[in-house]
Amino acid sequence: MEALIENPGKVVEAERISGSEAILRCLINEEVETIFGYPGGAIMPVYDALFDYENQLRHILVRHEQGAIHAAQGYARNSGKVGVCFATSGPGATNLITGITDAQIDSTPIVCITGQVASHLLGSDAFQETDIIGISMPVTKWNFQVTKPEEIPEALAKAFYIAQSGRPGPVLIDITKDAQQQSFDFIYKRCERIRSYQPYPELREEPLKAAAALINQAKKPYLLFGQGVTLSGAEDELKRFVEKTGIPSASTLLGLSAFSTKHPLYVGYTGMHGNYGPNVKTNECDVFIAIGMRFDDRVTGDVTTYAKQAKVIHIELDPAEIDKNILTDVAIIGDAKQVLKALLPLVNKNSHQQWLAEFRACDKIEMDKAVQKSLEPKSKLMTMAEVVHKLSEKTKGKSVIVTDVGQHQMMAGRYYQFDELKSHITSGGLGTMGFCLPAAIGAKIGTPERQVIAIIGDGGFQMTIQELGVIMQYQIGVKILILNNSFLGMVRQWQQLFFDKRYAFTEMDNPDFIKISEGYRIPAQRVQERNHLDEAFNKWLNQEGSSLLEVVVEKEENVFPMVPSGSCVSKIRLE
């Protein structure tokens, strides 16, 4: 037997074990604690092995594989660890695809392990055989099919290394049933390098100097940060950079909570339903600094009119994002933390009070034209804005907010005053309805010490409602807030604004959410009246464990401001 180094300082001998057991041993070596999964024929050997590893690996049985992958995403985004999923072949594997796509576009580190039919059956249209490698190719950072047990350690070591290094992303490893069943000499070695993959570029000096020169002579500099800051753990560096340079700073939707919304230099969030100031000032600044973001079209609107007057500095880890949507004057390819550290000594201490005051003047306009109407509505029923605003006050901006997709998502982004790092989880790039409930479950498991609140629309809730079963079975203390407008609200808003109010198939008859919740043994209450909200919040939040609060909100509330899809960011509508 060969002796090899497994972990630094620890020498182990190869052991003869089954492929299935090897998979679990790999996970333990990668310090995995939790697996979200669902069994089936082609992955049964792994589940059988898992039975003996119950005290080392916690398996959460979801109610649909889409729930597994979204839970893994929520877990990963909150804890910074890799999210792990198990699914069987065929339908089990294909049910993961939406979440894998979501993780790819939002750069979330995930490892999916799917069972596959025995290798001699590959290509024969066997029962539950599907070419998941082919299907997942465009939506994974890497994928690989294992047909021999000997390939398991290396494939999994690479999977974990690739998923979490550089710009993170999802990896799928498909393992045939025979490879799970056969035995081999197992030895694990973590992957530290792949020659065809360099996740961390060397920082070059010239662009750093060029960027510093631009920043130092700027009169109206503007900074926009994205999730890259959170992913690289650069929150502290960002704060120091912003405070030294005095630059008004805005967030993308996914950047929210990387910087306190209460900071005097924070000017709001950009994009389709973002704040007025940061959107219009994009087209007035002289130097535009983008950090860890990718100029999504929901941020830029019409690219041909976006920040044209400005010198653009783009700080980004992924070279393929440079010049993809917006042409840059200075590109700094590198990890946000590393770049900001290097840039800090090169920039001058500065302040831009007058320029900052222009943002505050915009805030005033937004307050008068949009915010006030939402927060102090004349309507009998409450608005989503009002509810989120009160929730923010109640929780002092300290909770982890997980949202689904739609109006409530935008309202949560606009009105929750994030005051703690890693506190906002949403499906940004893909906009996946059904994301919230399972992602909140994953987030709570990832950081049990924090209060995790799921804010969901009545539509999206019903897309993955079955995951209430997970909350019940494992007693996951997620707080659920349903903002019920009996509409697919965001689509209805577009119908109102752009389709002559033709509400084609967006009104919904909803079930009794309270009864459903109680059916899952989750305490629930419904509130309709404004003056009962505070009391309802107290009861809901003070309840031990999970609880659900349904707030019946105004049916036809709109989210404003709004940059209509594809238009210029300065043409933002306030009402």
Partner: protein, 185 residues
Amino acid sequence: MEKREYTISVLTEDKPGLLNKLTIILSRRKININSLNVSTTEVKGVSRFTIVATATKIDLEKVVKQIRKLVDVLGSFLYEEDQIYYQEIALYKLSLEVFQQNGLLEKLIRQHGAKIIAIEDNQIVIEKTGTKQETHELYEVLEPYDILEFARSGRVAISKSKRRTEAFIHELETSQSNTLSIKEF
């Protein structure tokens, strides 16, 4: 911006499935592949994909960077025609009888720098190496003589750079920079 024909050269680890991973990056953007060739290189375990596509330079630069993101890709480069040496190969099959009836054909073939690689079963196979235009010219010459079958390969290309593939791979192995492999090679 004007659409033109460009050559993308991709050095990869010799792994299954890569062809798909590469081509979907082009098809996503509705870029048609004019030709594609996969071959080994002088370095063991390293393959070369040569893709010819017509698109704007800006779009193809983005594609080349996205190709580089694939984990098993070592390097991905975009070339204009004058940055590479390239060739294609074409095969033409005629009936031996027709060939023999037209004495002039042999001379034509020689003039075009083509050669006869097989005469068998009453058929004759002619081979010509050259640019697409050159092989097409010969096609037009032979067309009146009833071509029974014609096939043309994808382009193969090597860069005019003086760097060796091996040295490039060595640089990659020792460097941390992922910008290296999208620079010109």
